[in-house]
């Protein structure tokens, strides 16, 4: 199965189970969890079922395109179901069956892994799902986001689709992954990895990034005063990505790190709080679909 067939199968699978098939968010994020479709929608009482592919950027993980499975940009397939339905584990395993992974021929494990995202003030309880010893999915019951308790609880499934595809296609290097029947992953992405690794590790302008961080941070605060939570959240994401770039440039000392993370977390928490208040003021419009 090609890479694009995998995402298409997952789209079809989750659409048939009532999920909106959303499109990737257009601001840099470190993980699918950070997009508004997860981070903000996981809060509050409104039901929410969504699935989407999200390109995720982790500047520190770049390896100039040379490492078999480490990249500074990769794809996550993200599913959010709120409230978490009974039998969600079985549904998830079914989704793998539709990809042609026969559980009787493999070894599945749900290995404890309580996920936490310090920059988002988010945490949950769940597992890494192992397929023959390889982590293919992060499976989490959200307990907190933006420092606020999630009620009802959303379940988040994050498939690492390159890994899954490498496994299914039996290739050892991401470059050899078949995107479709003719084009390989490496043809599309290798040069991108090379250039961004150089940028992230060697040439990103540190002074400019510090300045941007301060500007973005101030913008969040200004926008919150204007009651514009959604634009404000974009700037939280920009802060987060800027911080990651500074980190990959080695510009953040060990002592500064926790303080920086704390600043982003405070911004995220403020936006989350304002967003919840806004939804409440609107009378929770999606509740009618409960």
């Amino acid at each position: 199965m090609t890479f694009q067939q995998i995402t298409k199968h997952l789209d079809d699978f989750w659409a048939a189970r009532g999920c909106i098939i959303a499109q990737p968010y257009d601001v840099e994020v470190g993980a699918g969890t950070m997009t508004p479709d997860t981070f903000l929608r996981a809060l509050g009482p409104e039901p929410w079922n969504v699935a989407y592919v999200q390109g995720s950027r982790r500047p520190n993980d770049g390896r100039y395109g040379e490492n078999p499975n480490r990249m500074q940009k990769y794809y996550q397939y993200q599913v959010i179901l709120k409230p978490s339905p009974a039998g969600i584990q079985e549904t998830y395993l079914d989704s793998l069956c539709t990809l042609g992974i026969d559980p009787l021929q493999h070894d599945f494990r749900f290995v404890e892994d309580d996920w936490e995202a310090p920059t988002l003030g988010a945490s949950g309880v769940g597992w890494e799902v192992w397929l023959d010893g390889m982590e293919i999915t992060q499976f989490t019951y959200f307990q907190k986001a933006g420092g606020m308790v999630c009620s009802p609880v959303a379940v988040e499934l994050t498939y690492g689709i390159e890994r899954l595809a490498m496994y299914m296609q039996d290739v050892d290097h991401y470059r050899d992954l078949r995107w479709n029947d003719t084009i390989k992953f490496g043809e599309l992405r290798r040069e991108e990895e090379r250039q961004f690794s150089i940028y992230n590790f060697e040439v990103a302008n540190i002074d400019m990034l510090w300045e941007l961080f301060r500007l973005y941070e101030a913008e969040v605060e200004r926008l919150l005063e204007l009651d514009l939570q959604l634009p404000a959240y974009d700037y939280v994401l920009k802060c987060s990505h800027t911080f990651n770039l500074l980190d990959s440039r080695g510009a953040v000392s060990i002592t500064e790190r926790p303080a920086m993370i704390g600043r982003i977390r405070n911004l995220a928490a403020a936006v989350a709080k304002a967003h919840v208040a806004q939804r409440e003021a609107m009378g929770y419009p999606l509740l009618q679909h409960a």
Partner: protein, 709 residues
Amino acid sequence: MPDLLIEIGVEEIPADVIVPALEQMRVALDEGLTALRLTHGEARVYGTPRRLAAIVADVAERQPDEVKEIKGPPASAAFDAEGKPTKAAAGFAAKNGLSVDQLRVQETDKGAFVFATVTEEGRPAAEVIPGLLEGMMTGFVFPKTLKWGDLEERFARPVRWLVALLGDTVLDWEFARVKAGRTTRGHRFLGSDDVEIASPAAYLETLRAQHVIADHHERREVIRKRAVAAAAAVQGRPRLDEDLLEENNFLVEWPSCLLGGYPERFLELPEAVPVTIMQKHQRYFPVEDAEGRLLPYFVITRNGEGPGEEMIRRGNEKVIVPRLEDGEFYLTEDLKTPLPERLDALKRVTFMESLGTLYDKTERIVRLVAWLAEALDAPAPERETAARAALLSKCDQVTLMVGDGKLAALQGIIGGHYAGLAGEAPEVCAAIAEQYLPIRPDDPAPASPAGKLLALADKLDNLAAAFSLGMIPKGTRDPQGLRRQAQAVLAILQAGDFHLPLCELVGEAVGQVAARFIAPEDDSATAQGATNRATTTAALMDFMAARLDATLQEAGIPYDTVRAVLGGRWSDPVEVINRGHALHRIRGASEEFEGLVDTATRPANIWRSTDLPDEVAVEPGLFEDEAEGTFWAALMAAREEVARLQQDEPVPYEAIWQIVSELRGPIDALFEAVMINAGEPALRNNRLAMMRELDTLYLQLADFREIVQ
């Protein structure tokens, strides 16, 4: 009588939570049934990642009737002057479902009262057990719980099904919108989701037919056997770390074992690297040959069996190779800089917020090691080894292998390995490698003398640093694992038979931290600095004393013996530990123990509450009775003998016990002959001073007032 079966079906519970949860379940059922007056046999528990189960044998089907005497109004209020029942009597009778003539009058020490004898009919077990189960579910204590869906209940993981059978009867019970029934689920893939259990007795076999071994003891042995068989295919044997075996046991319901392998070149890595990747990251059992040398194979525990073995083996092999390649990459990069040349890089790594860098910490450890070596009068070569090891001890923190995070658990071990490659002496490497031992409570202390000194210094510095910053563990919060470190300090002192005064040890470590890193106004030269230092030292001393207490109790010594030992005078933790064990043995073996405790508490009870001035000394010229002279001579002789025996190594506590026991005769004679609290002050003080001397002698063993008889 029927058996009771309870099964809580859950989404995969973390492996380390299951055994404690099962024990809580066993106790909740056992004690709960007793509280419900339901006789029952033994409760047995069974656990898998998806189920917590208990079977209680022979549960009474009905509570026995209970006869209760209920006290009513005073007889004087219940009957009028003519003996006729009043409204009060009628009301009381009606409330208890009796007629007035069924009431009795009975004398109590507060006068005559009316009583009703009521027989409360026992209820069927099936009616009362659900209440017990509700309490059990909310009573579980887990390290972490969650909520799920739109429910309010909390548990370790979402609860998906419940089985509650008393004999063949389903109990009426519900939790988190799941209703109990007789339907369980088999193995996730090899079994059915809809399995009826006929009766508790059929539980284990019904599940076995569904590819679930519910009995975790049995399952563990299956894994052990199959792992051995799998490794035998390459003439190897699996390294079956018991914790890892248990973790795998609670990740599977129907185990089988497969052998995987990796390219032989990875055996050139320091052994701890592939072993850690196999054990910690992938939960594999490493395979070794008959001489204990690592082979390039590992054993996978699979949750299931049947087709797919080749695919699973290849999948696992594919995962481990990139991880080993990471290790290889780190090694190649790290070797470009010899370990000793990394000292300067430590200046760029912060250690605990305001406490300087790892370089500063290194300097403190070097000084503390020197101090320890001096205090223990260590031979010169050992001092040099320890000093060199201390200097290089933290250099591996700035290597890729340790610093990158994934293999951080290899700190020390990697340092030792790299030190060897840099040409350091083997003793230095061994000490560096051992510096974090003991990590787990049952780990050994460092084997080498220099390793012990370094490990002590490192841990004492961590403790002193945390306490200087006010990071003192409270309740269950101990994020830095300071309790474990303090206990490790005691374990090393014990292993090395290091006799050192605790206050000096702690004071030295606190002083080292304070000397440079506490704010200027707290500088040790100032009075404020000295006060702060004293406060920190005192807090750390209390903390260590509490750990000493815990160490002794964990060794199986009853709390009152521990308190008695710690209540006496002590400064050397190893001496206290030895004495605690000795007193415990003596208490268990000596029939005279209780009698001596009586004797030994008397002098303490007599003099400690008086205001006897310190300077009063016993004056034999003031003795009036022959018994005083006899007692005093015996005490002096005993004191001398005890002081002599205390110099022996090891201290013969049994012999000391014998000597103080033999004082009993002269003591009894003394109490027989004279009044301690004599009217004449000089006489009284003289006798109280004798009591003080006697008490002081007993305190060499323990403060016997702490013993609960």
